[in-house]
Amino acid sequence: MTGGLKVYYVPWRPFLMQNTFPTFYGTFPIIRTILLREKISLVHGHQAFSTLCHETLMHSRTMGYKVVFTDHSLYGFADAGSIHMNKVLQFTLADVTRAICVSHTSKENTVLRSGLPPEKVFVIPNAVDTAMFKPAQVRLGRDEIVIVVISRLVYRKGADLLVEVIPEVCRLYPNLEMRNCQFSCFFTSYQQGYEMVRFFCYLCPLVRYSAMRVRFIVGGDGPKRVRLEEMREKHSLQDRVEMLGAVPHASVRSVLISGHIFLNSSLTEAFCIAILEAASCGLLTVSTRVGGVPEAYDMIVLAEPDPCDMVHAIRKAISILPNIDPQVMHDRMKNLYNWNDVAKRTEIVYNRALKCSDQSLLERLSRYLSCGAWAGKLFCLVMIIDFLIWRLLELLQPAKDIEEVPDVALPCNQRGERIEEIFHWKTE
């Protein structure tokens, strides 16, 4: 393995949402070859919706490896898709050595869905690269409040909420030119003038409150983008709602630092890294109170996933904006979230997994039987066939015939920098 990291692009064609076609046993030969040639000790899979992950974990357990699974999302219990997905997860996690979840809410959700014992599940939140996500060097002015939304424009990310919230916020903060207006009135009587003065005194606080211009920047793409475009047209907000389309990850920071407030309208979220990135860039976050969002940090203005509540939360955020120092927020994120810390905690999970005892096929089959009256038996049959296929592969291509890959140590120059390429192409 080169420098501790190597990527195999297994050429199985993706068929739905970047997932490979579920074949149960089709990936066994290539997975077995990779595990043996790279001298793997432990297998770590991610994502409940990844068919390759589930198959790899299944084959790895058959071959006797310790496996760790990380769940990154929250799922429901009621709809047909969730019911089937939960059953698949139950099958995979029935025999997993350890599991990792990204928030306590996610842990509760995973334990309920899969029936995994809670003591086997660890909580390790994601971190953020604070070196990359830094506040703007020049602080933005407060004449215009810019609210940034960066997410996939899909149902789960609350795009429908945005369609309701944005026009309302724009209505509350109209682009009034009253600051620059000069009023001239001719009063026919003293009484009329007195009444007009009283009216303007009443109006002034509201005018001052609403004289702040609010603008939205929406980054991201998805099936709900059309709805947002329609909303923009319907309410004539072309000059106040800017649609950027898909934003490459390398450009996310440049979009974030152009705003004061980050708006997250997700309907479900295990742990929202986007919020951390926004906070690291010094933005005040307004988010729906769903899933693991409240666990991220305490400076989030939370709202129920309801348009009225979200509008109220945005108004509250605008009012407390003058008290927010972007640099202080960035430093706080730097102290709270660190990828080195995540790596250390993950290593602890790996060590715990490696210390677990090996189990025979019969012991493992008993765990699958507890998955359900019919499902348990089906799962056992699947694992028995997997075991037989493994023995067949051992017969056709014994492990000793699979060459182990040498570990390649990258040479370092005197300054300690890594030299990336070993095989350099000769160019003309």
């Binding site: 050429p11 089709g26 030969p29 070859t33 990779i34 015939d401 060459e403 095989f423 192409w425």
Partner: protein, 179 residues
Amino acid sequence: MGKISMAYIHEGEWPPGTVDIHIVKKSLRKAVSVAILLLPFACIFLSFREISATLILWRLLLSGHFVILLLLLWNPVHKESVVIMPAFGVQLETYYASGRIIRRFIPAGEILKPVLLECVTPVTCYWSLSLLVRGKEELVLVFKELRPPMKMLLPVWKALCASMENKESAVTSGEVEGG
């Protein structure tokens, strides 16, 4: 040295200093044993005297003529060799069991670099030795049909690299003398 079914032979330079030949031979025992195993199935189905559409279809599908056809068309590779001629280039040869030989010559001036790569297929992963050739988008496989293990590829790769270095030093000294 060799795998169970492969053997590596280095025939050395002939005459000394000019040509370097590396051969990888594959044993045909596996191919012959597979053919012997399949032959009884062919004989069983050929022995049926009754001729009917259904039976002909089953015979074709399961065994019988299909097996015989397979045996006739299957032309396993007997050996592949690499002939390195530092002054001229590299000749890649593929020898089939039927006696057919396919030769490919790559002039020395067109070879940019020999590289060892890991190839990933949907079912396996293996090492391969390829040549980066000037003007070609794709790499040229040195061993096109066989998949020798790394310990057989390594000496061939080293010999190819050495011949490239000799070519470069010859070019450099020629430039110095001419200048």
